[in-house]
């Protein structure tokens, strides 16, 4: 398999998160500005030493030329400045674009920053409608599907094909909450049981409210730089060892296969790029917009055989104390999910764990991590493999 050409060319040297959950005192633009500055400071740099900015637009405060507006707000004229949008996959495709720009010599150090405020700057109905507008305007949206309904179609198909149960999905929610319980910033920290998930309010059968990710405010940013500059960084550099992506369709009604996603393509490319395998991953940060999405990624990224994601989750392997820690901040199911930036918090958590800076949550033996994001309705996928040792 062809290599991405990006592995080992760059490293993540700075990171920042805003407050997350319910953050009514700052607009999405203000959150984006704040995390940009904080991430640059974390890297031990000044903005003048950074020559690129990549952002994602915000649903709650759409701006025509978003990255330019953020740079202008900061009185900054970066050499490389662009807004990207591939839905929930924007996060890691933006990392790819930053790495590619650095590899091509268009910049040496880039901030990737994004924030949104679905909770405080939109009504519940606005948030529902704007997200379900990803459906086809003529052949899906007229029937009234919601985003949970799209994932419920995937869930039902997986249940029918592989015998997966609603309890299997519930294990994903319980696992993420168990980790969030240990994180003081998490939006939802109270421990939950399988019975709590099963008994929670029905949203789109078979999905209940606790199978669905949160609606949040928040932002995060990372600083990525050329490998040779990383060795002098203020923080322990986290190297990009592998990258992959996969694109299968846009609308769920056009999916060739409801139960296997392009995470297969994305994961295989990232493993080939890094020369590593699923067994080599110390930490998993997957995209848990809904519990079935998490279960399918576990299968499609090679952590178990196809159809066995439910048993993998039910075994407790992903829980605190298990051998495959998963979404150790609590994921979008319990930490926060401010829309497109959602997967950034999986990346910042991975950076903290790989640096050894996760405080009381710090896990032993954290040297490699796989971070996965997806956009659309399991449509487009991006996989990062990270490590804390400079690749030889």
């Amino acid at each position: 398999m062809a290599k991405s050409g990006l592995n080992s060319t760059c490293a993540l040297i700075g990171m920042a998160e805003s407050d997350v959950g319910i953050v009514p005192d700052k607009t999405p633009r203000e959150l984006c500005v704040q995390v940009t500055l904080d991430a640059v400071r974390d890297a031990g740099l000044t903005l003048q030493e950074v020559d690129g900015l990549i952002t994602c637009n915000a649903f709650a405060e759409p701006i025509m030329y978003h990255a330019e507006a953020v740079a202008e707000y900061l009185g900054w004229q970066p050499r490389h400045c662009v807004t990207v949008n591939t839905g929930g996959g924007t996060t890691f495709m933006a990392i790819k674009m930053a790495a590619a720009a650095i590899a091509a010599g268009m910049a040496h150090t880039i901030v990737v920053a994004m924030a949104d405020s679905l909770r405080s700057f939109m009504t519940r109905e606005q948030a529902m409608v704007v997200q379900s507008s990803s459906g086809h305007p003529h052949y899906e949206q007229p029937y009234g599907p919601t985003v949970p309904a799209y994932y419920a179609l995937i869930a039902r198909a997986h249940m029918d094909r592989f015998g997966t149960t609603e309890e299997h999905f519930a294990h994903a929610a319980v696992s993420c909450r168990a980790w969030a319980n240990q994180h003081p910033k998490a939006q939802m920290r109270d421990l939950i049981s399988i019975e709590d998930v099963m008994g929670s309010r029905p949203i789109a059968d078979p999905l209940k409210v606790l199978d669905c990710s949160l609606v949040s405010d928040g932002g995060a940013a990372v600083v990525i730089t050329r490998g040779d500059r990383a060795s002098n960084a203020a923080q322990k550099p986290i190297y990009l060892l592998g990258y992959g992506e996969g694109h299968a369709y846009e609308h769920i009604s056009q999916a060739q296969d409801l139960t296997t996603s392009a995470a297969v393509t994305s994961g295989r490319a990232a493993y080939a790029d890094s020369g590593l395998t699923p067994n080599d991953m110390d930490l998993l940060q997957l995209y848990d917009c809904f519990t079935p999405a998490l279960l399918i990624q576990i299968e499609d990224l090679g952590f178990c055989a196809k159809g066995e994601g439910g048993d993998w989750l039910a075994s407790g392997i992903s829980l605190p104390g298990g051998t495959k820690p998963l979404n150790t901040h609590g994921g979008m199911l319990s930490y926060c999910h401010p829309g497109n930036p959602g997967a950034m918090f999986g990346l910042t958590e991975a950076m903290l764990q790989l640096r050894g800076q996760a405080g009381e949550r710090q896990l032993a033996g954290m040297n490699t991590a796989l971070c996965h994001a997806q956009g659309g309705i399991m449509s487009s996928h991006a996989t990062l493999i990270l490590g804390n040792a400079r690749p030889s």
């Binding site: 109905e125 009234g144 599907p145 179609l153 029905p202 789109a204 059968d205 009604s253």
Partner: protein, 135 residues
């Protein structure tokens, strides 16, 4: 807020014209010997730009379904059933399954098309379980 109403392009208009007549019509690609959906300017397989409109049976099976308990907006009254239907001629289509108790639904059940008014000039295909057509 009202239900989203399609505003057909010229390419799509034959689909909606057929719906207005109470017929389901799909594009057919002769070189591929294959029906396709949604309407396109080119076959999404061989990219042949000359596609024929053909009336199809309206028969299908449920590939997956969900009962929406929390509606997308006040324009829709929950519960309602969203389904992916595999049409007998091949393509998959998203629709609603109407006139059914959600508890009796299952993947693989046979359904038949019906048409409902979405606005004064747009009818859309919906589906009914074949066992309960008399209702």
């Amino acid at each position: 807020m009202s239900r989203p109403i399609p505003r057909p392009s010229p390419t799509e208009q034959p689909f909606y014209d057929a719906c207005a007549r109470g017929e389901l019509a799909l594009q057919y690609c002769k070189p591929c010997n294959r029906f396709l959906f949604y309407p396109r300017t080119h076959c999404d397989h061989c990219h042949n730009p000359t596609l024929e409109w053909r009336q199809v049976s309206g028969e299908g099976t449920i590939a997956s379904y969900t009962v929406v308990r929390r509606s997308v907006s006040e324009a829709f009254t929950a519960p309602y059933v969203i389904a992916l239907i595999d049409l007998a001629e091949g393509p998959r289509i998203m629709s609603q399954i109407v006139d059914t108790e959600p508890e009796v639904l299952a993947v693989g059940q046979s359904v038949l098309v019906a048409f409902e008014e979405w606005s004064d000039d747009i009818k859309l295909p919906v589906f009914k379980l074949r066992g309960v057509l008399g209702k």
